[in-house]
Symmetry: C2
Subunit: 149 residues, 2 copies
DNA sequence: CTAGGTGCAAAAGGTTTGCGGTTAA
DNA sequence: TTAACCGCAAACCTTTTGCACCTAG
């Protein structure tokens, strides 16, 4: 629950090890921040949060760590237009809903059946390794405190 | 057919006028390049092409013109990850297939029925103004000359 | 001992903006 | 005449990189 302690989940260290990488305090804290704060934060937002725990961390290291986590498939990088890249620890197949007003981003679960119907629109010969689905519009936004801006 | 002459399609000037904007040679040429070269070029690629017709044009003007065309909905801006923005005059609902190897981008037509099934995965309360669907993977790429690389 | 990591500062894209001069309604 | 445009250069923002130092295996 807390992002404060250095919780080295076995699977976490393991996922890194599989890529020949180490589990470091920076990587652990950044990962736990992503897990506890599922608002799809930007690198800058993660930086602000992680600084409270590791005051000496640099923004470059945050970028590097996030990239590392993406490499070993612990998190996904999400982009909306030209906005800053956001990071998301949800590895399940899902779509994203981006609320332009509030800037909030929500995960939308994506049933396997819909996913395969989408893939079925591809003409023969196309081999899709991944599909990315992004909605834009107004979200319910029940909790105004969730709004970004 | 030719992108050389100053073809002021009525609808083109009209679309601009509706936003209180003018039809200029720069905007016309850029638009006709997009129409004739449907490879989803970047601003830089458009710049290279348009310079052969308007040698004195600047990259900033290309960016400005493209943005203007997007504003008055004559073209769509397309983004893949953090790559340069690409521009696309196809206003029909369609998905994009991005070939990571060649860099090529293909329009995939999106049947209305599939579109509505996709929208049906949204929980109640969500109001999607637009949906963006991007495939990544290997495309047939029958014509190697099309590869961007 | 040495490959991998961190922090810092500088560089690298891609895109936008401010400004002086030009042009079309 | 005057608002819209253009070209140029500088600014901007996000992200990456080079380098010196440090640390875990």
């Amino acid at each position: 629950m807390s992002a404060t302690s250095t919780v080295t989940t076995p699977s976490f260290a393991q996922a890194l090890a599989e890529s020949g990488l180490r589990s470091t305090p920076q990587r652990e804290v950044i990962y736990s921040i992503l897990l506890s704060e599922r608002n799809h934060p930007t690198a800058d937002e993660v930086f602000a949060r992680v600084k409270t725990e590791l005051p000496s961390i640099s923004l470059a290291t945050v970028y590097n760590c996030l990239e590392t986590l993406v490499q070993c498939k612990l998190v996904k990088a999400v982009n909306f237009e030209r906005e800053s890249t956001r990071y998301c620890p949800n590895l399940q197949p899902h779509a994203h809903f981006h609320d332009d007003q509030s800037g909030a981003t929500h995960d939308i679960s994506l049933p396997q059946e819909v996913l395969s119907q989408i893939k079925s629109i591809l003409p023969p010969g196309y081999d899709a390794a991944s599909v990315e689905i992004t909605f834009r519009g107004k979200s319910p936004c029940a909790n105004p405190a969730d709004q970004r801006n």
